[in-house]
Symmetry: C2
C-alpha cells in the first residue's frame, strides 16, 4: 500500500453524505481497487450541527470551503455545493492554486467557466473530473472521453433531466395537466430552488454543453445551446403524440455540422417504441453515435444519493489509480472555439395549431406551409368548439428556418387563435 | 508530443483491419486525445498477400505472431487472432515476457487462462486490456472496473452473443424454425467455425465469466458457468412466451450469493417491454446492478469491424495515456477463488410439457409440482393431436432444484411424451 489519497469534501447534502458513506463503508474495497487507501480528512458545509445520519466527528471541519480547499492534508477537493459562481468557483480555484485535484458534480459552474478552469487545472498539472455532473450514475463522461476515444463522434443525444422526464411521464400516465404535476414534483422536492433550471431546460442544457465539448473537441459553449422548456406542453399534445406513435421528451441533441456546432435542448417527439421513448420517470439516457462504434445507448438513474455518489467515487478512484486526463478529453489549449450553428438539420415536425373558426382558415395555413416548401405528411382536426378549431399537422422533413417562416406567415394571416406549438420529431 | 506508442498487430481479419484503418485515418485525433502519436510498426497474419483493402506496406511483416510480440519496436501487442490456446496464448506470453502491454479481443483465451495471464502481466508490470472481448463496442469493462468502482456489484446480466439474438429475433419475427434460421445465419457468415460456440452459449459464457471476475473480485471461473444453448427453443415456445408477455433471450446472469458465485448463460423469458426484451438482432445489452448506482443499462453493437475496433482503440488510448490497471480490476493475487454455486435463486419458470393423451395425465403433473412445493400461476393446454397434449405452465417463484426434482417425478410417472422445456423467467 502506498500513501493514502486524502479527500476534502465541501457540501454535505444528499450527494456529499452519499460520498462519505461509501468512503467509510467500503474502505477495503476502494483500497483493493485503487491500490491505496482512500480517506476523508476534512469536510465543510453550511451548518455544522445538522444531523446527517453519518459520523463526521473524525474529520476536520471548515466553515469556509476555500479554507478546506487550501488545506495541506487534502489531495483531492470534492466540490458538491453547486452554484455557478460564489463559493464553488472560489474554492475550486483555490484548490487548483494549491495543487489539489478536483472532483465536482457542478454542471452550472463548468458550463459557464469550464474552459477557464480547465486551463487553470492543466497549467497546474492537476485534473478536474465531473462524471457526477452529467446523467447521475451513468459513466457517460468516461465512455465518451475514454472508451470511445477511437471515434469521431457524430452525434450526442440525451434525456438528462430526471425532473422533466418525471413531469412528462406523469402527465402521460395520469392524464394530469402540467401545472398540477409541477406542483406535485415541487412537493416531492424534485425541483431546483429555481424551478426554471429544470423545466426551462437550463440544467439539461448545461449537461449537453459539457458532453459537446468532449465529443467534438470544442470549448464549452453553453450560450450556443438553443433552449426550450417543457412549460408549454399540454396533455393534449402528449395524447396526440401518443396517438401518432410518439412520446414527448425533453431531448438534448448536439452535432458538429459543416455550418458549426448545433446544440439544442427542447421537447421533441420520439418514437414510442424507441429506447428514448420508453424512458420513464427520473431515469436518464444518453445516446452516443460515433463513426466506428455506430450507436451506444447508456441508461441509468439521473440523480439521487447513491447514483451520484457512485459517479463521484468513480472519479476519485481514477485519481487514486493515477489516471490523468485533460478536463474535456484533450488539452484545453487545443479545444477550438465552436461556431454556433442554428439547429437547422431537416426533420419532420409536429404542429399543434389553433385556428379561428371561419371559412378559409385552413386554406391559409396550408398555403403558408406550401409557400415555404413544407409538405404535409398527416393532418387532422380534433375536437372543435364555437370559437377555435385545433388542427394537428405532421410535416415531412423540413428545416426549422422554413417552418418558422411559415409560422410567421400563418400568424400574419390572422387565422391563428393562439400561439402554435411546433415540436421536432427526432428519429433515433 | 512525447514518444510514439508503437503497436504490433497480430490478426488481420475484420477487426484487425478495422484497427489499422482507425490508426491510419485518425492519427491526429488519437495524438490529440492521448498526448502522443499512436503508430503501427509491425503486423502479422496467416496470409501476407491477401488484399485487405488497406495499405500495410509501411509496416514490418512477421509470419510468426510470437516473433511480432517480441519485436523491440513494439510497445503494445494487439492480439486479434482468437483461439483459446495456440499462437494467441504463446504470443501474448511472449509479449509480456519481453515487456509489452497487451490488448486483445480474445474471450476464450481469457476465460481459460485469464488468471495465469493476469499474474504474468502484473509480475511484469504490464497490463492486459480486453474491452473488445465482451459486448463489442460497448465500453462495459471500463464501466464496471472504473466508472462503478465505488459499488459493491450485486448482479451482472447480459445478452452478449449477437448471433443467438439474431436467430431468436428472426425466429420470432419471421416465424421460422430454428434449423432454418440457423442455416440462414450460417450462410450470412454469422456463426463461428464451431457453431456450438455461439448457439451452445459458450462464447457468451466466456464473456460472462470475465465480467463476473471484475464485478466480484473473483478468479475467472468459466467452468462454473451453467451453460444452456438455444438449440431446443421452438417457434411454439417463442409464440407462447410472446402471448404471455415475454421474449426469449439467451441471457447471462452472474451474482455472488451467500452460497457462492452463481453464473448461468441460458435461454430465459424476459418481459417483452423491458430493455432486454426489446433487444433485436445483433445488438448486445449489459445490465449492471450495484449497491450505490442501482441499475445501469448499456446497449450497443456486439460485433463488427467498426464497433470492435473502437473497443480495441479505446484500450490502446488508455495505455497511451498512461492508465495502468490490473487485468481484472484488482491485483490478480487478490482475486479470490469463487466457490461455484448452483444457480438456485427463486424465480418463476415457464414449462412446456408434452403429455401422453390419457386420463389422469394432467393430474400427475399437477401432483408432481405440488409435492415439490411448486404452485402454478398460469396453465393452459394448447393445440392437441391424437397422441400428445402440450401443456404450458407458468409457476410461481420456485428454486431450480425443486423444479428439477418435480420434473424427474413427472418423467418417472410415465405421462410425459417428450422431454420438457423449462425456462427461467427473469424479471429485470
Amino acid at each position: 500500500m502506498t500513501t493514502p489519497l486524502r479527500l476534502g469534501i465541501a457540501g454535505l447534502g444528499t450527494v456529499g453524505v452519499g460520498v462519505v458513506k461509501i468512503v467509510r463503508q467500503k474502505a477495503d474495497l476502494l483500497a483493493a481497487r485503487t491500490g491505496r487507501p482512500v480517506e476523508i480528512t476534512a469536510v465543510s458545509a453550511r451548518s455544522r450541527n445538522k444531523d446527517r445520519g453519518v459520523n463526521l466527528s473524525t474529520y476536520a471541519w471548515e466553515d469556509d470551503p476555500v479554507a478546506l480547499a487550501k488545506r495541506d492534508d487534502v489531495d483531492v477537493y470534492v466540490e458538491l455545493m453547486g452554484g455557478e459562481n460564489g463559493p464553488a468557483k472560489a474554492s475550486i480555484e483555490a484548490a487548483l492554486a494549491t495543487g489539489k485535484h478536483v472532483v465536482t458534480a457542478n454542471k452550472a459552474l463548468l458550463a459557464h467557466h469550464g474552459q477557464a478552469l480547465a486551463q487553470t487545472a492543466e497549467a497546474a498539472g492537476r485534473v478536474i473530473r465531473f462524471e457526477a455532473a452529467v446523467a447521475g450514475g451513468i459513466p457517460v463522461i468516461k465512455a465518451l472521453s475514454e472508451g470511445l476515444a477511437g471515434n469521431e463522434i457524430t452525434r450526442v443525444m440525451g434525456v438528462m433531466n430526471g425532473t422533466c422526464n418525471y413531469i412528462l411521464t406523469r402527465m402521460q400516465d395520469a392524464g394530469l395537466p402540467y401545472e398540477e404535476v409541477f406542483e406535485e414534483a415541487n412537493k416531492l422536492g424534485y425541483l431546483e430552488a429555481d424551478p426554471n433550471l429544470d423545466v426551462g431546460g437550463i440544467d439539461a442544457g448545461h449537461k449537453l454543453s459539457l458532453l459537446s465539448s468532449i465529443a467534438f473537441g470544442t470549448q464549452v459553449n453553453f450560450a450556443g445551446v438553443e433552449l426550450e422548456g417543457i412549460q408549454r406542453i399540454s396533455t393534449e399534445d402528449i395524447r396526440q403524440a401518443e396517438d401518432l406513435g410518439y412520446k414527448i421528451k425533453l431531448l438534448g441533441v448536439a452535432q458538429l455540422t459543416g455550418r458549426g456546432l448545433e446544440q439544442r435542448m427542447s421537447p421533441c417527439l420520439v418514437p414510442a417504441d424507441s429506447p428514448l421513448g420508453q424512458l420513464k420517470g427520473g431515469t436518464n439516457m444518453v445516446v452516443i453515435e460515433g463513426d466506428a462504434v455506430e450507436q451506444i445507448v447508456l441508461r441509468g438513474p439521473g440523480a439521487g444519493e447513491g447514483p451520484t455518489a457512485s459517479a463521484v467515487i468513480g472519479d476519485v478512484c481514477d485519481i487514486a489509480r493515477g489516471f490523468r486526463l485533460p478536463t474535456f478529453g484533450i488539452p484545453a489549449s487545443d479545444l477550438v472555439e465552436a461556431k454556433t450553428a442554428q439547429s437547422n438539420s431537416p426533420a419532420p415536425f409536429y404542429l399543434h395549431l389553433t385556428l379561428v373558426d371561419r371559412p378559409g382558415a385552413l386554406a391559409k395555413i396550408a398555403a403558408a406551409l406550401g409557400e415555404h416548401g413544407i409538405s404535409i405528411d398527416r393532418m387532422r382536426q380534433t375536437r372543435h368548439d364555437d370559437t377555435a378549431a385545433p388542427v394537428l399537422i405532421v410535416t415531412h422533413k423540413t428545416q426549422r428556418s422554413d417552418l418558422d417562416a411559415a409560422i410567421n406567415a400563418m400568424q400574419a394571416s390572422g387565422v391563428m387563435a393562439a400561439d402554435p406549438v411546433a415540436l421536432r420529431i427526432e428519429t433515433v
